[in-house]
């Protein structure tokens, strides 16, 4: 009887202790930002977890020792902890991985049950909790709590998985892919977190759909124009938009410039011509000016001789003088002078 009471007491104490422990870890996670979690590992894995900084989306599947920024031991209960104070103040993408006992610490396994990594967003003030205890493989089913943008990251990963598993019938596959890519673009458009938004866009095959959704991408870049992270710089180098748009802009500017220049040159020369004609007109005598006026009215030599009552040969002589003084060769040129 007494041993039974003792065992009940022991179980109550254990329960109280575990509640206390939970409360302690909860209050700790509330008070100071940490990346922590519980990993259930097979004996093939080294009980060490590595944290890598992923500077661009292109580097998500790149592995090197230089990318690993911290490592932490996994204790016998599976717990590990990283402080976040050394992380950047702004959101960045990170990768957490474990390595096999016989493999180097910088090991990346992509695909299959032994996929050894997960990605998440964090900054120096964020708390992240990772738990794979419900997983059959290493990370095929895990919980990522604590920092809200990671929920959206997980939702995007689910969409990506769906697009990879979609139907084998080509037409149906294309339709499903298109729908899922539209979903990703919608997340990219509506998310307020820069990395989540860009992660969604990056997985929506934007390079192939750029031309059909050009307006969307232009608005997107406009929306995030103040973002200067490496992630956005990478996107800007991938999209042809800025180059194309700026070349069109410069084409219009040059076109306008040459149009105005041509107009100005034409105006200048016509002014100059009329000025020179005026100065030539002043060189004509009174009689010649009178005859010139009649020439401009289209009168013939005979009509001019009758109007001024002078001989036809005199008119011809005046007309010849007028031509030579005005440097013209015909009546038509004389009529064009204003």
């Amino acid at each position: 009887m007494s041993s039974r009471v003792l065992s009940i007491n022991q179980s109550i104490i254990v329960q109280l202790l575990s509640i206390l422990l939970c409360f302690n870890s909860f209050s700790q996670s509330k008070s100071e930002p940490i990346i922590n979690g519980k990993l259930q590992l097979d004996s093939i894995w080294e009980p060490v977890v590595y944290l890598s900084h992923i500077p661009t989306f292109n580097d998500m599947f790149t592995m090197s020792n230089e990318m690993i920024i911290a490592e932490a031991k996994i204790d016998t209960s599976g717990y590990f902890i990283f402080p976040t104070e050394a992380l950047p103040n702004k959101d960045n993408l990170f990768r957490l991985h474990v390595s096999k006992k016989d493999a180097p610490s910088a090991s990346l396994i992509i695909g299959g049950n032994e996929e050894n990594h997960i990605f998440f967003i964090a900054n120096s003030r964020s708390s992240v909790f990772i738990d794979n205890t419900g997983s059959v493989g290493l990370f095929d089913k895990y919980i990522l709590n604590g920092y809200k943008p990671n929920d959206d990251l997980e939702a995007i990963n689910e969409i990506i998985k769906l697009s990879e598993q979609s139907d084998t019938v080509l037409l149906k596959k294309q339709f499903v892919e298109k729908t899922l890519n539209e979903q990703l673009r919608h997340i990219a458009d509506t998310s307020s977190n820069a990395i989540v938004s860009l992660y969604a866009l990056n997985n929506s095959k934007f390079e192939t759909t750029y031309l059909s959704n050009q307006l969307f991408y232009e608005n997107y870049l406009e929306k995030w124009k103040n973002e200067d992270s490496t992630y956005f710089r990478e996107l800007r180098t991938k999209l042809p938009r800025q180059e194309k748009s700026s070349s069109t802009f410069w084409l219009i500017v040059f076109g306008l410039f040459f149009f105005i220049l041509g107009f100005a040159i034409n105006y200048y020369f016509s002014k100059r011509k009329s000025k020179s004609n005026n100065s030539h007109l002043k060189s004509l005598s009174i009689q010649e000016r009178k005859i010139f006026q009649l020439i401009q009215l289209g009168k013939s030599n005979k009509e001019i001789s009758e109007e001024y009552n002078i001989g036809l040969s005199t008119v011809k002589s005046h007309v010849s003088n007028i031509y030579s003084k005005l440097n013209i060769k015909s009546r038509k040129e004389a009529m064009d002078i204003k």
Binding site: M63, N65, A106, I109, G111
Partner: protein, 142 residues
């Protein structure tokens, strides 16, 4: 004497048979239905290599395993279907020079199971830059 030899032969056969069978099983497990098995060694190489995996009409699924370990350099592995669409990639980098006395290994592994793969030549493209190390490519088709 003859009986003794016969007895010895039987005993030897009895002990050797299971070993032989298990070795066969191991070999089958490793290479059953293998269409391509390549091991490539790099010694400071920067030459791009393309390994082709031919997929026939009756292939229902293909399992492609690429496993690389390098001591120095930068290696990118890309997988393309016969139409040239990329189906995955990874890169591994070791910043030590190949002449360095220090040793730093970096390992990358990719497993892809492709249901009803497109018929034609799938390509595993290896893009090394001053790489010393090795890579194995194993493609199994069913």
């Amino acid at each position: 004497m003859k009986n003794a030899i016969k007895l010895f032969g039987c005993v030897a056969l009895f002990f050797l048979m299971p070993t032989n069978v298990s070795a066969q099983q191991y070999s089958q497990k490793q290479c059953s239905g293998v269409s391509t098995m390549r091991n490539i060694e790099f010694n400071g190489s920067s030459d791009v290599e393309e390994i082709k995996v031919e997929v026939s009409d009756d292939t229902e699924n293909m399992s492609l395993n690429v496993n690389g370990t390098i001591k120095s350099g930068y290696l990118t592995v890309e997988i393309y279907d016969p139409k040239g669409k990329k189906h995955g990639n990874f890169s591994i980098e070791s910043q030590l020079k190949s002449s360095s006395k220090k040793k730093e290994l970096v390992c990358g592994q990719m497993q892809k199971i492709i249901e009803d793969p497109m018929k034609g030549d799938w390509v595993v493209k290896l893009i090394p830059k001053d790489v010393s190390g090795e890579i194995s490519i194993c493609a199994m088709q069913n």
